[in-house]
Symmetry: D2
Subunit: 284 residues, 4 copies
């Protein structure tokens, strides 16, 4: 059984040792191990993927919980080998409802075999969508839409979420959040083709280049790395010369982006793809 | 009637004056005028698009021919308002036959309403293709494939070509050639998405970025400008993670590139698009 | 004598003809001619550089004034061959006083042989600087700092300015303004190395790339072209690893940027460099 | 005492476990740990930086040697805390002698406190330089200059080299070589400003952009990461408009590049900088 362990702490000293010591003591095989630091925020993180006999998974979880309690480290233990239930999703939104709506419909219709366990917004705009599909709704934003990032992670923890889906959630996740759900658990929809159009206004940028091709990208988020290299799925559409930017954005938002997110999430929950050493690989 | 006049000479002095003087003397309206220089090759060029009464087109041609003879300028007069015949194409190739083959088939089947007046190669590889479709074949390359650029243009002049189609012709046209057929008469097939992947190995570059989207671009060539902003048509295809680079290239070359060129040429010969102040615009 | 004529109008029809006709009629030699359009703003422009006998310069100016009055074109006639006086500058500022201060001091000390004819701000911040050096001050900004672009150009016209110096003026000049003073008359100080760091936050961008080299660029502004290819002067400074971003910005703003602007303006007013077919060339 | 351990093997299974187990068993504190894979070459690598009491360093080395012998892993143990001797350099060259010559002179004159233990070339060109300074010379290239990469590393191992200096060595080190001397032991001189001009022809690229600033970069090599983010030192020079490309290259090669390498190596051997989580940081 594959298990992903993430740890986040304020220092690089004492971060790896207890976990590594415990894991090797349980006959787990370390398949991948990374330490990161985010120098500007003084936050350090470790990710390790281990192979362990499935019978010892619960013991490993307890051990990690004990280390977490003993040290001040924020530790999470998770397995991508989900059996007997559907993967649980946290669907995060801001203003645009289309991608989340398409995902909820695809789940309802059996196209995406997942469970929308909760919806998180930093604005009230999509509350009605959550109500319509009877998904618990949480607004983590203040009046200006600034999200309470720690509460967002706490909600995902409490609801035992497998994957965090950023369905046009327009705030940047802080590095600490990305690390806590590292290892291929955060899926973002970017409304442009990566890596060519990475910014906040990919439609505008591609339009300025006089491109006739527009696209969207579903990708895993990996902190500290250039966006766009962890691509799960991309979809594009072409326009004839002279098409207005507004018309292009309309077609992208209403049709292309929702499709892109749905297929991206499907690939992950169906276990077709996986994050492996910061690359997306086909899972055998 | 719209008329495009190009002039190429060794100096910027005396390049514009005689043409401009003659054109304004014939009641033509100057709609666009540009002078370029290519400092490293000491070549200067002028392009002007004028509106003139159709009845005076032949007179204008004669006048320009006379100026050309009097000065040492290389002058070409051409109108995109082609009536009573199909636009004549020069199809230029190197090794890969697929895009040219697709274009010749599309012409044969009436999908592209043009006449393949000649084929030009810098290698012998595609001679059989020309013979199969009974198009005159000219090899302008020496033993190493280095093309005789002046002969290439002379062939296009002699055959009174309207559009030069670079169907995976793998040599760079010198600036002087581009200027002689400036004004939207040279159409290139690039085997990557422009402007993101401009180089000689766009499949390799996109693959290195771990993209899942690959594409091709049909565009007008405009010397002295960044490639890719004069896009006529783009087409893309998506691959799942784990697809090998060879498989991607195979799909691109056999399927996507030929389609991209055919649709690009069709848009031009059907008069749907036009080059206007270095931009591709829909023609009303 | 070299003369630069610019014309700006709402259409490409009728823009070139009268000027070209008049100029060729006066035995002027057209050395360069360009037409531009700015499709999103429906503004067309023409630039021509002509050689004419100095004795006919005033006649040419009158002729152009007459055309301007007859048509609705905004026409400007200017010669870079300034004799018997010092080039007149409009120094434009927003918040940062250092570059303008350095330029005013260099003029006072005879290092830059120019006359600071007026200062233009879109904020009040640098008024004191203008008063200190007894240069007429004009604030063209509203309460939010939004500049009245037409008034800015009108002020330059009234004061018969030769060169417009953007000394950390933080607003984008609209295309129409750039064209009215086209031909190498607008000099901008960019606080990053061009073309590598073109945006609004070049210090931040270079810092994110973990560079140890920071720089500034003096360049001519040419509308419709990528910024940074018309470089007059660049200066750089190096920092050791671990230097804070604030410290880097402080050194850049207080020392490197002022020096870069002064040397850039000096090269232009001393006639060492010139804009020629959108390139900066050494003037013989 | 800080110790860097690198391990390279053909698989990610069994790579981390024995080393991690042994290190934690010796009361070493893991300060940094990374695993990399190079999917196209099926090569996996691990880097760990540990803190251990200096008295146990030799024991740790023996333990690692034992693991290396028992498994098939290629393991190296090294400490940057060099005392009682000067850091030993392997100076690697191809054609251009200037940077190596400048480095050898700086060592001779006491400016760089290091020992040039051997010189390695893939061409014979710089043999005379090695003889002049009485440094052992090894040519690892075949007749076409293709280097024997394994022999290059073996030579560095045998000569107990601390740092590998790529002084305009023009071949790409394979990932396996980079990993074997990972942790800030390979210093490269790039003849352009990173990250803006990364390719094989940075002078040409910057010249094409019409820059007036040219530079060179000394940086640590980190496999799998974008070049240029591990910058130790950069130096630049400015040229006036109109300077020929050949003149620029001449100034860069004869003056700027040698200076850049010497100062880069000095910073490393003086312990002023260090690679820490893939970033260059000032060492306290």
């Amino acid at each position: 059984m594959q298990v992903v362990i993430t740890a986040v702490g304020p220092d690089n000293r004492g971060l790896a040792d207890p976990i590594v010591h415990s894991v090797t003591g349980m006959d787990a095989n370390i398949a991948e191990i990374q330490m990161y630091d985010h120098d500007r925020e003084s936050v350090f993180s470790m990710l390790t993927r281990v192979e362990i006999d499935a019978s010892r998974y619960q013991e490993l979880r307890k051990e990690m919980a004990a280390i977490s309690q003993r040290t001040k480290l924020s530790i999470r233990t998770w397995t991508p080998d989900i059996t007997g239930r559907r993967p649980a999703l946290a669907i995060c939104v801001t203003y645009r409802p289309e991608p989340a709506l398409a995902l909820l419909r695809a789940i309802r219709d059996g196209q995406v075999k997942a469970e929308p366990r909760l919806m998180i917004g930093n604005r009230e705009t999509c509350r009605g969508l959550a109500e319509q599909f009877e998904v618990p709704w949480f607004n983590v934003g203040d009046k200006a839409g600034n999200p309470d990032d720690e509460r967002m992670i706490a909600l995902c923890d409490e609801h035992e979420v497998d994957f965090v889906i950023l369905a046009r959630y327009m705030r940047v996740l802080p590095a600490a959040s990305c690390w806590k759900y590292a290892g291929g658990r955060i899926i973002n929809l970017h409304h442009g083709l990566l890596p060519s159009f990475p910014g906040m206004q990919p439609y505008h940028d591609a339009f300025s280049s006089r491109m006739l091709t527009y696209g969207a990208t579903s990708h895993f988020i990996v902190p500290e790395l250039d966006a766009g290299c962890q691509i799960i799925y991309q979809s594009t559409f072409m326009v004839p010369p002279g098409t207005s930017r507004d018309e292009i954005i309309r077609r992208g938002q209403q049709d292309n982006e929702p499709h892109c997110l749905v297929e991206g999430v499907r690939r992950v929950v169906d276990g077709e793809v996986q994050l492996h050493f910061n690359r997306v690989v086909a899972r055998k």
